[in-house]
Amino acid sequence: MLDTKKSTNMTKTGLTLGPVLFNWSPDRLRDFYARIADEADVDRVHLGEVVCGKRQPFTDGVWPELIERLQAAGKQVVLSTLALPYNPRERNAVIDFCKAGELAEINDLTALPTVAGKPFLVGPFVNVYNEGAARFLAGRGATGICLPVELPIASVAVIAAALPEVEFELFAFGRLPLALSGRCYHARLHGLHKDGCQFVCDRDPDGLPVDTLDGQRFLAINGIQTLSSGVEAFCPTPEDLAKLGVRRLRLSPHTVDMVAVSRLYRALLDGRASRTETLAALKALDLPGELVDGFTRGQPGSARVEMA
C-alpha cells in the first residue's frame, strides 16, 4: 500500500488534450491532430464528437486514422462519447465508441452498461459531486474521473482523498462547458431549427460570443452547448495539485496554438515555470476571451484570474 502511494506521488502530473467541442471540418481535425501528435506535450488525447450527434456523420470517418497517427506518436488515445444522446443513431454511436477497443470516456450514463466491468473514464458532463458518486463509478470500473467544472475546489480535495486509486482530473484550460440543451442556439440565431440547421455552428470554431446588453463579454454558444466567454486558466503549482490529490489536468482545444499551451502547462506542472510566468505567457496568446479561474477559487466561475 505504502509503495503504491509513493510511486503515485512520484508520477508526474498527466496532461490531457480533451475532445474538440466545436464543429471543425475533417481537414481541420487532421491538421490539428497531426501537429498535436508531433509536437504537443500531452500524454493523452481524447477524440470524438461529444456535443452534437448531427455532426457525427462528418467526422466519423476521420477518427480511425487519427487514432493510429496519435498512437504512433506515443499518445494514449481515449474515445469520448456524446454528452446528450437521445435518438437511436446517437445511442448506437455511443455504444459503438465504447466497444471500439480503445479506452472510452463516458459523458452520459447511457454508456455505463456497455463499459461496466472494464476500465473506463468519466467525463466532466457526468455529475460526480461527491465521493459517493465517485465510489459508485469506480466500483463499475472507472479508473479516471474528470470532475464537473463547477465543482468547488474543497469538494475536489474531499473526493480525491476518499478514492486514492482513482485518477482525478480537472478542466484547466479553455472555455468552460456550462450547459447543454435540446435546442440549437446557432440554429435559433440564424432563424433555423435544429433539424434543418445547415450546420451553421461551423462558422465559429471557438464558439460564438454572447454579450450582455451593456457590452459585457459573458458566454459563447456552440450549437446546443453554452460555454463561458472567459477562458479557464487553472494554473496550480505541483504542490497545490498534490495537496488536492489531483493527478491530471485537461486542456480543451481551441484555435489558439494548443502546442504552445501544452508546453506552458507541462513546464508549470514540472516546476520549470511559475504560475505568474505561465499566466503571462497564456495571456499573450490569441485567446477567445479573458482568463478566468473562479471555480477553482470558490468564486463564481466568471471571476477573472488574479495575476499576482
Binding site: A83, L84, P85, Y86, N87, R91, I95, D108, L109, T110, A111, L112, P113, T114, F125, N127, V128, Y129, N130, E131, G132, A133, F136, L137, V149, E150, L151, P152, A154, S155, V156, L178, A179, L180, S181, G182, R183, Y185, L189, H190, H193, K194, D195, V210, D211, T212, L213, D214, G215, Q216, F218, I221, T226, S228, G294, F295, G298, P300, G301, S302
Partner: protein, 329 residues
C-alpha cells in the same frame, strides 16, 4: 389507465390547496439544500411533512418528496436525513438525482419508492434501464429535450413509468447539466438547489429605464413604465452574431395542455405541473383546471372540449409547448 396529475406544493398551505383542488399527487421538498427549489420562504420542516402527508393521505392524494440535488462532498448527512425523514413521514416516493443518494436510498431504504428526477437527465432506454436495474427506480421524470413522438418510442423501450412536465416554468437547458448560474453567481441548481439566486439580483434605474442584473451581468433591460421581469439567466436578452434578442428562450412558460391526450397516447403515466414557488391561489386554479382536463380526456372528450377547459390559463404570459414539438429545437 387514468393520467396521474403531479402538483407542486412549495409550502404546507400550497399542499392543502393542491390536495383540495384535486391533485392525484403532490411533490415537495425539505427546507434545505437537498431540494432543487431551495428558496427562502419555501419548503417543509420534517414535522410539516408528517402533517402534510397525513392531510394528503386522508384525501387520497400521494406525496412525493424531492431530494433532487447532488450531495455535497464530505457532507452527505443532510441528504441521508432527508431520505430518513421522508420515509418516516410516510412519503409515497422520493425523487432523486445523485448516484450517491440513489445508492444510499436503495441500500438503506429498500421500501421507499424511488423516482428519478429530471435533474438526472436520463433520456435514453440504456440510461433509464441502468437506473431501474441498479437502484430499482420505478419512474423517470423525463428531461425536456424529447418530442412527443420520441417519448412514445422511449416508453415502448422501457419498463418504468414516465412523468412529463406540462405546465409552468421551463428550463431551455437540460436540467442537471447546467452551470450557467454558478458561472455568474457561484450558486447553481446542482450545487445549492438555486438558479439565478435573489441575493445576486439587482434592479438598476437609469435614464433608459431599468436594467436587471445578476451579480453584475446585465440580463435584460426594460423601458420606463415596463414591468421589469426577474433576471433568470437563460431568459435574458443578449447580443450574439449582431442580433439582440432572447437567445436561449423568450420569457415564456411551458403549456403543453393541448398535448395531454397525445402524451397519454405516448404512454406517459403522470403529468407534472411546475411551480413550487407559486402561491396557493395559483396552484389551486391550475390544479383544478388540469384535473378537469384529465377527466375530460378519460371520458373520451374531444381536443376542443379540453382546450376550452384550459383556455382560462393561457391569458397573460406567453407560452410554449417546448421540446414536445420538434420545431422548438
Amino acid at each position: 389507465m387514468s393520467l396521474e396529475l403531479v402538483c407542486p406544493a412549495g409550502t404546507p398551505s400550497a399542499l392543502r390547496a393542491a390536495v383540495e383542488a384535486g391533485a392525484h399527487s403532490v411533490y415537495c421538498g425539505f427546507r434545505d439544500e437537498t431540494n432543487a427549489r431551495n428558496f427562502p420562504g419555501l419548503n417543509f420542516s420534517p414535522d410539516e411533512l408528517v402533517e402534510g402527508v397525513r392531510f394528503a393521505h386522508a384525501h387520497g392524494t400521494k406525496v412525493l418528496v424531492a431530494i433532487n440535488t447532488f450531495a455535497k462532498a464530505g457532507a452527505m448527512d443532510a441528504w441521508k436525513a432527508a431520505l430518513a425523514n421522508a420515509e418516516k413521514a410516510g412519503a409515497d416516493a422520493v425523487i432523486l438525482a445523485d448516484l450517491a443518494v440513489l445508492d444510499h436510498a436503495a441500500t438503506h431504504h429498500p421500501n421507499l419508492r424511488l423516482h428519478l428526477s429530471v435533474q438526472a437527465a436520463a433520456a435514453t432506454p440504456e440510461a433509464i434501464a441502468f437506473y431501474a436495474d441498479t437502484f430499482g427506480v420505478k419512474r423517470i421524470v423525463m428531461p425536456r429535450v424529447l418530442s412527443v413522438e420520441e417519448i412514445a418510442k422511449l416508453n415502448a423501450a422501457i419498463n418504468v413509468e414516465t412523468e412529463a412536465f406540462v405546465f409552468g416554468g421551463l428550463c431551455p437547458m437540460t436540467e442537471g447539466r447546467c452551470s450557467l448560474s454558478s458561472y455568474a453567481t457561484g450558486k447553481s441548481p446542482n450545487l445549492t438547489g438555486v438558479c439565478s439566486p435573489p441575493e445576486h439580483v439587482a434592479y438598476t434605474e437609469d435614464k433608459n429605464g431599468t436594467a436587471t442584473r445578476l451579480n453584475g451581468f446585465t440580463i435584460d433591460r426594460f423601458g420606463a413604465g415596463e414591468q421589469a421581469g426577474y433576471p433568470t439567466l437563460c431568459k435574458g436578452r443578449f447580443v450574439a452574431g449582431g442580433k439582440t434578442f432572447y437567445l436561449f428562450e423568450d420569457p415564456v412558460s411551458l403549456n403543453a395542455a393541448s398535448l395531454i391526450a397525445a402524451l397519454a397516447k405516448a404512454g406517459v403515466t403522470a403529468l407534472k405541473i411546475e411551480g413550487r414557488q407559486r402561491g396557493k391561489g395559483y396552484v389551486a386554479e391550475v390544479v383544478r383546471t388540469f384535473r378537469a382536463a384529465v377527466e375530460a380526456i378519460d371520458a373520451g372528450g374531444t381536443e376542443v372540449e379540453v382546450g376550452r377547459l384550459l383556455s382560462g390559463l393561457v391569458e397573460g404570459g406567453r407560452q410554449t409547448s417546448g421540446a414536445y414539438k420538434k420545431t422548438w429545437r
